[in-house]
């Protein structure tokens, strides 16, 4: 194949990622214009991040489960169950808030082990096991709370959901200094990492993306981070949950892209039999994935409870669907084997901005549901169309 052909192939391979990014930007611009600039107001951007954080956290775990060819319908109920247990631990058992957080994460792991056992070692499809989990954990939530709500929570605990890093400017500076510092640091790390890996690839003489494309992407991403930094710094600074989300995204992106475990997850979803015959411990990997999903669900449950300052029997209702939608809008394949953590995050952001923008515009919830449904369908239809076109013969 000619050099031109392979360059074209390269861009075609990136089409989905580029398209997703362009869609995100287009939606932001649309709402920015339609809401007369409210969308990108500092307070709104801060709220957007905080209010979507738990869906984004769930999406990080969900995309891994979906790449492996499974699904988890129980995450909404697990969010509620963990929230309920955190309420009971903190307000009724008087356990210190930080011990309660650790115990809740362990509880999440236990939930994951329970479901992972039936899926991985007993061989029941994840759809069934987690559908059962959706019912049982919802039931356990209601039993735990005896259909009452628990409130309030201590301030330190609530900070996990709605707190901000301390304002080093004393609340008087034009831009909050700590946020600016973190934003600049993140940008520098991003640039350094990108340049370093490009240099390494050059050294190994690996066929690489064109320099111009590399620079455009880098400048664009850096500008985006700095823009968000600027907006957050001119409001109340960095939400604590953004740090949590940032760490999760970076860590799990690395795991999926570069670790042996991540490779095994892709191998499982791409061809389970071939993976097993290549020495991948398929049952163990599946089990570990569900334990991981349990812990991540627990984390989302803690963030959600902290944000609302309330443990509620109805909490987390429908979260699983938002998380799954985020993953598929983010380009994961329904049959497994394809997907990325960053894609799922962008997918979640698209849903979040749609929700936020439509609420500002006063669009009724019935229309919000309708539009979100159509966006999901359109995103997957775009994927399928693309695959058919490139699949050719």
């Amino acid at each position: 194949m000619s050099a031109f052909g392979s360059a074209l192939n390269y861009l075609a391979g990136q089409l989905r990622q580029i398209g997703l990014f362009i869609a995100l930007i287009a939606i932001i611009i649309f709402f920015q214009v339609a809401t007369d600039g409210i969308t990108l107001k500092p307070i709104n951007v801060s709220n957007l991040i905080v209010q979507n954080s738990y869906i984004l956290i769930l999406a990080v775990g969900m995309v891994m489960v979906i790449i492996a060819g499974h699904i988890d319908l129980s995450v909404g109920s697990v969010v509620a169950f963990v929230g309920a247990m955190s309420g009971v631990m903190i307000t009724q058992w008087n356990i210190p808030w930080w011990v309660a957080i650790i115990l809740c994460l362990i509880l999440g792991a236990l939930v994951g082990m329970w479901q992972g056992f039936w899926i991985a070692y007993f061989g029941i499809p994840a759809f069934i096991v987690t559908l059962a989990g959706m019912l049982t954990f919802r039931g356990l939530t209601q039993i735990t709370l005896q259909n009452q709500q628990i409130s309030p929570f201590p301030t330190e605990f609530r900070a996990l959901g709605s707190g901000f890093l301390p304002d080093l400017g004393g609340g008087t500076s034009f831009l909050e200094p700590l946020t600016v510092a973190l934003g600049v640091l993140a940008t520098l790390l991003l640039v350094a990492q990108a340049v370093r890996s490009r240099v390494a690839r050059k050294k190994y003489n690996v066929e690489d993306e064109p320099l111009s494309w590399f620079l455009i992407k880098l400048v664009f991403t850096a500008a985006l981070i700095l823009l968000i930094t600027y907006l957050l710094a001119s409001y109340r600074g960095t939400p604590i949950v953004l740090i949590v989300l940032g760490v999760l995204t970076v860590a799990y992106s690395a795991v999926m892209a570069r670790s042996v475990f991540g490779r095994h997850v892709y191998a499982l979803g791409g061809n389970l039999n071939a993976a097993a015959l290549s020495g991948v411990k398929t049952k163990r990997v599946t089990f570990q994935l569900f334990v991981n999903m349990g812990v991540i669900s627990a984390l989302a449950g803690l963030v959600f409870t902290a944000q609302l300052n309330l443990a509620n029997p109805k909490a987390g209702d429908g979260f699983e669907l938002d998380a799954i939608a985020a993953v598929f809008i983010g380009g994961a394949a329904v049959t497994g084997g394809i997907g990325t953590v960053t894609g799922a995050i962008i997918g979640g952001l698209i849903i979040g901005i749609l929700n936020n923008g439509m609420s500002i515009l006063g669009v009724g919830t019935e229309y919000q549901q309708l539009i979100k449904g159509l966006v999901l369908l359109a995103a997957v239809a775009f994927d399928v169309y693309n695959k058919r076109r490139s699949g050719g013969r």
């Binding site: 042996v260 061809n271 015959l277």
Partner: protein, 513 residues
């Protein structure tokens, strides 16, 4: 009226970036069996898809004349209505439906929208009689073997009042017995006036039944040969297919055989569903360093089952027996244990068991030995590219880069990726299950070269194949397997096809007696 039932004139079919067919012409005489030969990717299947309306009229250039009328098929339904029926390489039967239901699928024997079951089963049994199948039409398709399933496909074609039957690699998945039966049936149908087009890699079959053979190479018609002429030999056909004389179909190889490297003793495996049934029974085999050992057996003899059960107990129930490596007993209970002990198994079924088709070459190559390019659980993706690039060059994998998806490669190149994967795991013993199935003559020769190279590096190689000439061509020693039992251990110089076949069928004859 001409004697040609079908003429395809100057067919050109273009896919984005590729000319799959260029000015291809084909004339098939009424009542003849016409074979189409060519290497993989030559355009045979594309040509048949054009003919059967899978690629509708308008998406190709050229003209199709069927029974002296120009036809333009818009879909498979159109072509079937005109009596052109194609049977694809991958059988299109529904396993959970009965034979009769499958035969009339899409063409149900109905009265006012309700199925007439009596008529369905009666008509089905008549059709089954025509193809020589004695099974009850209400048997589920999943309960009959591949050979019989192929016959059901033909019965289904007959139900559509076929005039021109197209068979794409009909014997690829069949054993010799079933193949012979199928070929007889095609000849029998010829007697009833049904014209057949048969695509096959098996030249001996073409030699046996075809009246003419058309050779296609690189999307162009090369020539049409009259098979009744004496000068037409298999070598002559191969020459047309590859465009050169293949001085030998098997590369020369002088073996350097060392000490015994692997021994499997008294290996017994039970069927995973039918726990009473022994699929492999008390089998013992061994291989020496530098030795290429063949396992010959008919389909169902337990070849793959033997290999997969040794390799990490990947098949079977209640497995017993011992495995020795260099004289010490080893455990191969899990695939990772088997790999750690220096075993490798390259499957007969690349698409379902060998490759992740939606992943690229490099990630497939490294999957079985990720530990070699990772530290503390993190993969060095740069070294991965270097490793994969090395295999792409040394194995001559034809792909634009190691980032090409394996699903887009031809069969031969996919097989090279599978072999690369196992070579990268650096095993001492490789079990290659049907290493050349479904790949073209040129690529086969390359694969044989690779097998020889592996043996010369001091590895033990076990080759499972249903093609006896292949085993005779490359192996130093051949085991015969019949109904799960090792029936003979034959050195190369004593092995002949007849001798092997005798032992491959040994147990069965005893049962008949």
């Amino acid at each position: 009226m001409t004697t040609n039932i079908l003429e395809m004139r100057n067919i050109t079919k273009t896919f984005p970036g590729v000319k799959a067919l260029q000015d291809v012409s084909l004339a098939v005489q009424r009542g003849h069996i016409h074979a189409i030969c060519g290497e993989n990717g030559a355009g045979k299947s594309t040509l048949m898809k054009v003919l059967s309306g899978v690629y509708p009229a308008g998406t190709y250039d050229g003209e199709i004349v069927l029974e002296d009328k120009t036809v333009e098929f818009k879909s498979i339904n159109d072509s079937e209505a005109s009596g052109v029926v194609i049977i694809h390489q991958e059988l299109a039967l529904s396993p959970y439906l009965s034979i009769a239901e499958n035969i009339f699928l899409g063409n149900e024997q109905q009265k006012n929208g309700w199925i007439d079951w009596n008529k369905t089963n009666l008509e089905a049994s008549k059709l089954l009689a025509r193809v020589g199948l004695k099974d009850n039409p209400i048997t589920k398709v999943m309960d009959i073997g591949v050979g019989k399933q192929q016959l059901v496909e033909i019965a289904k074609a007959l139900s559509k009042e076929v005039k021109l039957l197209i068979l794409d690699e009909p014997t690829a998945a069949l054993n010799d017995e079933d193949s012979a039966h199928l070929l007889d049936l095609i000849l029998h149908l010829k007697g009833q006036g049904i014209t057949s087009i048969i695509i096959s890699h098996k030249l001996n079959e073409i030699k046996a039944i075809a009246d003419e053979v058309t050779i296609i190479r690189d999307g162009k018609t090369i020539e049409t040969l009259d098979m009744h002429s004496d000068q037409i030999t298999e070598e002559r056909i191969i020459k047309g297919m590859v465009g050169r004389d293949l001085e030998s179909r098997y590369p020369d190889h002088t073996p350097h055989i060392g000490e015994e490297i692997l021994r499997v003793e008294n290996w017994t495996v039970h069927h995973p569903l039918d726990h009473e049934r022994k699929v492999v029974s008390n089998a013992s085999i061994s291989v020496k360093a530098g030795e290429i050992v063949g396992i010959a057996g008919l389909m169902g003899a337990g070849r793959t089952e033997l290999a997969m059960s040794v390799f990490g107990h990947s098949y079977g129930y209640n497995i017993s027996g011992k495995v020795y490596k260099n004289g010490t007993e080893i455990k191969t209970n899990t695939v990772s244990a088997a790999i750690d002990n220096g075993l490798a198994y390259a499957t007969e079924d690349r698409k379902h068991y060998g490759l992740n088709l939606i992943e690229d070459i490099k990630r497939n190559v490294t999957l079985a030995a990720l530990g070699k390019i990772s530290r503390a659980g993190w993969v060095d993706s740069n070294r991965e590219v270097v490793v994969a690039e090395g295999f792409r060059k040394s194995m001559n994998i034809k792909a634009p880069s190691v980032e090409a998806l394996t699903g887009k490669l031809s069969g031969g190149n996919q097989q090279k990726v599978v072999l690369s994967k196992w070579m990268f795991s650096d095993p001492d013993v490789l079990i290659l299950d049907e290493p050349t199935r479904g790949i073209d003559v040129g690529a086969k020769y390359e694969i044989y070269g690779i097998i020889n190279r592996l043996a010369d590096e001091g590895k033990g190689v076990i080759v499972i194949s249903s093609e006896l000439p292949e085993l005779l061509g490359i192996c130093d020693r051949i085991y015969t397997l019949s109904e799960g039992r090792i029936t003979a251990d034959v050195p190369r110089n004593q092995a002949t096809a007849e001798y092997l076949m005798q032992h491959m069928t040994q147990e069965r004859e005893k049962d008949h007696a």
